[in-house]
Symmetry: none
Subunit: 195 residues, 4 copies
Amino acid sequence: MRHKNNEKSRKIIAAATKIFAKKGFYKAKVSEIAQEAGIADGTIYIYFKHKDDILIALFEEKMREVLDNMKKQISLESDPFAKIERFAYFHLKLIEDNKDMAEIIQVELRQSSKFMKNYQNKKFAQYLDLIGDIIQEGKEKGLISQDIIPGIAKRAFFGALDEMSRFWVLSKRRKYDVETAARQISSYFINGIKN
Amino acid sequence: MRHKNNEKSRKIIAAATKIFAKKGFYKAKVSEIAQEAGIADGTIYIYFKHKDDILIALFEEKMREVLDNMKKQISLESDPFAKIERFAYFHLKLIEDNKDMAEIIQVELRQSSKFMKNYQNKKFAQYLDLIGDIIQEGKEKGLISQDIIPGIAKRAFFGALDEMSRFWVLSKRRKYDVETAARQISSYFINGIKN
Amino acid sequence: MRHKNNEKSRKIIAAATKIFAKKGFYKAKVSEIAQEAGIADGTIYIYFKHKDDILIALFEEKMREVLDNMKKQISLESDPFAKIERFAYFHLKLIEDNKDMAEIIQVELRQSSKFMKNYQNKKFAQYLDLIGDIIQEGKEKGLISQDIIPGIAKRAFFGALDEMSRFWVLSKRRKYDVETAARQISSYFINGIKN
Amino acid sequence: MRHKNNEKSRKIIAAATKIFAKKGFYKAKVSEIAQEAGIADGTIYIYFKHKDDILIALFEEKMREVLDNMKKQISLESDPFAKIERFAYFHLKLIEDNKDMAEIIQVELRQSSKFMKNYQNKKFAQYLDLIGDIIQEGKEKGLISQDIIPGIAKRAFFGALDEMSRFWVLSKRRKYDVETAARQISSYFINGIKN
DNA sequence: GATGAATGAGTATTCATTCAT
DNA sequence: CATGAATGAATACTCATTCAT
């Protein structure tokens, strides 16, 4: 897994994103990814030791991007509730703009824990913690009820957005626009937890 | 080809539930399921035409049970908010009591849409609609704000519960007990949508 | 490596003997062996876990036969020198009659120690010991000089026969007949070690 | 394509000797040899057209050395029996001093005839003929029985030494020292063929 | 000449599915 | 109906060899 050439590594991940989204990890052939990337089958193995490693690297790369982007978005607001709204909007926007990536994270991330025993998805935990931190902040500022348990609330909020994403990813056509969905979901949540 | 009322059919599904939960659909071998069921490999093909069909039948059977059970629970309450609380509690209780089933629905249901192109998960839609119907009822009774879009709200609520389940399914130890989680999540939601 | 059906197991070994002799272990394809045996590729893996295991089983089977046969031959003589002569004759005869087997033992047995780290060729050691025991007996009867070290002598005698075999195996045409070669080699040896 | 006098060519052969001895020809990777030689993979192909050619060149170089050395040793004696004793001693000494080379010649030379259809090992034939010539000389001088067939005797003697070598090459610890083994084996042979 | 990234032909092994008993 | 031995299509991965730099 030499990484002399990062450009090719990214090309492979981009191709894999497309193929995994279309076929799913198990049905995707390494040779298809190679073809999509415009390289030879063997070249993939210069950059990734196993097929599994492509998926892991894909997650890490995508999650890093998502995480960085979301941190930036949140930092633009100071009010915890505004942060939550922004989180909802940009999360759903991201799904809309990156359907392939969303599908993989939706579908494959779920089974990942099964075939990647030792792979700890730290990036995902950090992403959830962005919400947890906002809630904590809200509690400290007296905006959010002291009864709220951040560990449950962050999952409830993420799950609400995530289920919406899944619906979109698996549907052919998009019912409800991003703005509406984001506004509704963040509104339920904010009203649900505010003091 | 399927003989739905057969006892052996259920034995196979029970075995498959265990094996799919442990290994995931793709890594589970038909021969393992046969062994777990105490029958010969070939016997499985008397009851199911393909490996995929076992998973589909498994979903249908489990979802039917879940659906029937949840309908019964909901009917015991007349107040929409009480129904929501009961839904949350019994959904999470179900996960706790049926870890194997939960894991399969969590993990494999996601990829199912990929390999089962033509499989329409009607039972799952009906399950979601249980929530949608409660919300509709709440709106009609003036308990829930008219702004709430049931198609979004039902997914937000289900997603919140589902993410909690996923956390439990993938964690070794169970943080937060069922009652607490159910109370918190239904409370956010009810407060979030009530008039 | 179930062995329900010994007949098929032997059929595979017979086919492997032919193919390994023709191509060598590394160049022999499992599919060729299957074809030669008149079975499907996958069937081989019902009887042998790996390609390596075919070679190991082949050795064990052939060496058992060779060993049993040679023990019988030796027991027909009571004089140690007559035993040595008989050993030489039947060893070379065996090579002549089983060219494929001889070639594999000649060629592949040598490299076997390399890829089969843990495979201890006990049968071969027992074969060598047949000679060692004769020498020991000869020493005890005062027919063979006390200076002779059986551990060296048995290898010298076997090596002499073996080199002759190798010459035959690798040559197109057979120079020197079995009787002549056996007589010459056992004669050098007997005269060389007798008291 | 080969540049025989090149220093790099020898460096590659030296590296190959080490790697082939450790892993065997088929399991040795060209890249490993390159690394051992401290050069790039592609450089090997400037000096050798195929992996096979490295083995052939290795044989030729080693056998030339061995042959030259043995010729020199033999020429130091005038008595045929003394020559035989010296041959035995220096053959076994060579094995002891060059374990890697010995292992390759022992193990890989055997299979070489298989993958190198057209490779005629003339050097090896010349080596055997050194013994054949001594026997011929002995017969002419009346020291060796006229019944002895040099073509068989030379192989018997070489085979005896060779089997001893093989035992040493494949054993972890060396039983019997070189002097003892050489004395024993040449003694059997000389006594066995003398007039 | 030297490099080493890229190539792609080659193959052992797996496992869902079949079917003769 | 039940069996389980047999099938053979399918595919991840390796590594000798090439060739642009």
